[in-house]
Symmetry: C2
Subunit: 719 residues, 2 copies
Amino acid sequence: MTRTLALLLAASALPLAAAPASGQPSSAQPAYAPLFAAEITGAKRDLDASIKAGINVPVPKDPGGGFTHEQHKRNYRIIFEGGQLYRLTGDRRYLDHVRDMLLAYAELYPALGPHPAAANQVPGRLFWQSLNDSVFLVNAVQGYAEIRKALSAEDRRRIDEGVIRPMARFLSDGSPQVINRIHNHATWACAGVGLAGYLLGDRDLVDKALMGLDKSGKAGFLRQLDLLFSPDGYYAEGPYYQRYALQPFVVFAAAIEANEPQRKIFDYRDGIVLKAVRTAIDVTHSGYFIPINDAMPDKSLRTEELYHGVAIAYAATHDPTFLSIAEWQGRTVLTPAGQMLAADVAAGKARPWPFTSRLLGDGPDGKQGALVLLRESRGTNGPLLVAKNSVQGMGHGHFDRLNWLYYDETGAVVTDYGAARFLNVEAKRGGRYLPENDSWASATVAHNTLVVDEQSQFGGQWKVGETVPTRQLSAGLDAPTRWSIAEIEGAYPGVTIRRALVMLNVDGLSNPLILDILHGTGSGRHRYDLPLHFSGHIIDSDIAFDQHLAERPVLGSANGYQHLWVDGEGTRNGAARLTFMQDSRFYSYHMAPPKGARFILAESGANDPEFNLRREPALIQRVDGAAATTFVSLLEPHGRYDASSEAVVASSSRIGSLAHRREDGADIVLITFVDGQRLAVAIADDTSADASHHATVAGRSLAWTGPVGRLDLAKGDAQ
Amino acid sequence: MTRTLALLLAASALPLAAAPASGQPSSAQPAYAPLFAAEITGAKRDLDASIKAGINVPVPKDPGGGFTHEQHKRNYRIIFEGGQLYRLTGDRRYLDHVRDMLLAYAELYPALGPHPAAANQVPGRLFWQSLNDSVFLVNAVQGYAEIRKALSAEDRRRIDEGVIRPMARFLSDGSPQVINRIHNHATWACAGVGLAGYLLGDRDLVDKALMGLDKSGKAGFLRQLDLLFSPDGYYAEGPYYQRYALQPFVVFAAAIEANEPQRKIFDYRDGIVLKAVRTAIDVTHSGYFIPINDAMPDKSLRTEELYHGVAIAYAATHDPTFLSIAEWQGRTVLTPAGQMLAADVAAGKARPWPFTSRLLGDGPDGKQGALVLLRESRGTNGPLLVAKNSVQGMGHGHFDRLNWLYYDETGAVVTDYGAARFLNVEAKRGGRYLPENDSWASATVAHNTLVVDEQSQFGGQWKVGETVPTRQLSAGLDAPTRWSIAEIEGAYPGVTIRRALVMLNVDGLSNPLILDILHGTGSGRHRYDLPLHFSGHIIDSDIAFDQHLAERPVLGSANGYQHLWVDGEGTRNGAARLTFMQDSRFYSYHMAPPKGARFILAESGANDPEFNLRREPALIQRVDGAAATTFVSLLEPHGRYDASSEAVVASSSRIGSLAHRREDGADIVLITFVDGQRLAVAIADDTSADASHHATVAGRSLAWTGPVGRLDLAKGDAQ
């Protein structure tokens, strides 16, 4: 840890930082880099408006999205920004305003009881859930720290004892059911409590934040670092909450580093804090977080948490690839770390972020499953296959083990619904998770994975899911043949599910093919459904659908099936195809389904009395009355549609046939293109990396080592 | 007309232009401005690829989107670009390639009969519709002109007589049913024939192009200039076809100017050609053409036709606001006009386009109706209300007189379906208009205008519609109160429809309110339906809907009703509200409907066996068994949703009540905000500009002159 880093980090949220840490004289106006200058301009605008409007610290009343909720959110931002501006400019107007606001809170806070709009969540004092109170404290302490030394002793005492310490007490001793959990709500609480402790010189608060209320280390920040992230820095709840959790982790870590450098917090657990920042960036496409589990799909790297995360990580590493993320964000934070980052962006030091394929082990030991990212290194929006072979992800986890998603230049193609929620929109149940989040968004049928007997995995009980890992059997991360093979037992009683997803680069195709071989193996008779949720407009299909053109029924009565309108049901002898179009590209989904399979074309949105659901299409492959079944599918991106020039190329599939057979402990798939070119892919049941296999495909010998073999046959190669 | 202009214009598509018109030496590589340099780079890439691939002039076979169709399109682009590149560089490779390609066409063309894939359209020779043949000729002549003088006499003769003249003959004498029409297909034919005539020195072709096959002036280019555009430069078929038609108008006009300057073609009919270019730009929002009538909604100013249009208009006017359009386009054309435009963009001469409210009179005399654009001057994407009070618009016109649309920063909010078509996507009926274009997209119920007795206007017969104008009674184009009042008789037997749309700027609201008062007046008993087609997700409503949650019926059996799924039907005593959300904004649609009205919530997509329709929501206000009825509605944009910061403000409507009454020949509407502020709007039946009116509203006296009066009452103003 260099001295520069210590100074940079010290300036966030620490008493030390009240002295101008950046070495800038506080009265002159230094020439800031554009990114930082814009932050100052924005903060000044906010502060000027707030000063003009006057202090408004209302008695808490409204849930998320309501007036008092939003006002208290505005206020903690003002406290944060005002403190930073005072440090940067020395202008007493900012000091006075932040002080007056904090004094108003010191008047209000002590008399508050549980928030009146609290629902299922743990109530806060200022907000309907205590989580927001923690966020308030994290921000307020960082702003207050910048003005505290300049206050009169009396004002300091009133604020310390009227709001900062009582809030920290409420979020620690007063909320054991929050802070002692291993959960992102607890991380925010720990950060708030710990930052307050450092600021007030209150060792008791700091120790409780670091090691739990009983200071045993069984809870608290360090235990959260041990348990909430996998060794690869992946956060069990998924990317959306990884982002959310990140801010208290990095901000509190920076404060620990500055106050207790002997803890070497950035080296803790092999550098887990910085790994978490890197992994958060890796689990995005086009800058947007992959919306697995409960997640708002409009959430991107352009978010407060990542402005802090990127600035602190850059200060800690000087890795210039963070700068390209900051460029994409177009924002930074008002701290010295943000100032340095902005200067280096302006100096042209940015380098592209190295998006590559990754296997992110999940669970505290990294062995409870994995999130597998197979991607082309083509910037932020290249082809990306996500295999969700992870752990349950606690209460925000969906019942979607072995789910897969696909993204490319047109955005999400094979999709995840994300959460059923309108964040902070009051008319939508106060902005909370909606009933359809349980009844649809988290249900297995809302995902691209096998549904057995119309049930959700684990009977829809996440605590049961927590006890069952996913087995990542094999992964290959390199072109031209990338893969993930995983298996789960216990998602359904007596049924084992194994899935191989293979991303195939093929000469002459701009985007890879995605091959999917899914085996459901049980006994007795089951209904097996394999949905594909996709984004785009249907172009055509070779399936003879019996269509519900003038009266549309629902598919089922429970477990998400009640939310699916049925547009058509059909069958086809042999392989089938559905082609759809999104933006500038066409996609053909080829299926070599089991004998007797039916196809159901459906759309979400049934049984939705409050109009809470988006209406999105799905194709379901269904097999009835089977003990075991195998679904073989292939996604083929093709062609191009250009609205400007009206040029359309290759709107029809280039694949003539898709065939599958079992042979000697392996699945053999033969893809034949319309031009005669052929591609054989073999997946051995034995997934060990050194096992050798052999098969005969299209009259040719195919020998391979490890689970996945491949044979490319050009047009004209002998049969 | 300056000499510079003549030179600039001359260089497009004229024999003169084979000499380097720009004054650049042809061997040196001058420093081109970035916009033009990029065009050269792109064209060189195209030519290099084409030269490498070799000449490919296939026997015509496929419809739109198919291989031969796309190949012939590629070829005419290569001929155009290759000719320009030869002029700019003097590189003989380009000359040779263009020559060889034209010689191949000279071999192929004479033996061709009607295209085998011709369907309902007039067949071409190279393409399934002769329209595409005209486009081929317009482009090919412009390219050929640049190399013709450098060819051997024999090659010149073979190309002249093998393809250029025969094609011009086919498109003139050979296709009287096309070229003698007053229609955009005829304009393309005239341009092709006329350009060929100038190039070949064939006066007969030129005269037929200018004045029709019989040279009487009853048809041909000049007559098209008289009849196809209104005096305001509006094209009767609508913005999408205005764009499409523009290229032959401007290119042929430039050729006329260069060859026959004495015609003063750019002054013809008070400068109608340049007016048409300006109006084409005005009928866009965020750069995209308003998709009324048959139109692809993804069509923007980024299109070949407008690259030509903007370059030629800038060359003719030097109006620097055209340069900002070129900047948005990010493209230009390879002609000298494009070169000059690019240089001036690079020199920083661009000025913002003056988007303002406009009343575009429709019909050849401008008095057959109007397209009214009410807009805030806030750049390309500010609030815009479109009132479609125009003429029928020939075969591509929809049955949507008095329709309205609304746009703002979030895009289209009150929407038009556009055309039911997947342009050039072969699997979608060869890329042609789909059956649902008639059965849904052009039907009255697919628009935001009154439907009487579930019929489309004019019984769905466009030729009947052609005989009935719309009466634009009044318009006010200036803030804070802009309006359009229009009326139509004859759209339905015995029913007169009058509609006032008022755009109200209100202090404290970032975007205007839109007030809509629609009167349907007939005798007997009618069903009156007023749909609102909107874009966004429903947030909530105060209407008690009886919902079809688990089985969804269709609304009707014909005239578009068969394509509407019904989600719910409901009633409400007094005013009703539906709130929806699109991107970053909320919209509340308030209704003060007639007594006994019902509300139907619906979605397009029923009875759609080929998956040709998009699925979009609509709310229908319905009155049954009435002779006359009045619908009063108000669209209120409000609030803000910010996904990055998760800040949500004003997600609930700010309007507490909407009340309407009739009084002394006027409609009086009182809007009361939840904060007590009130706004009264009065619309007199007498629409003359100088008539004075008086009413008492909310205990206050309201006197006004002209049809629209307004009274703003602040909170606390006396009752």
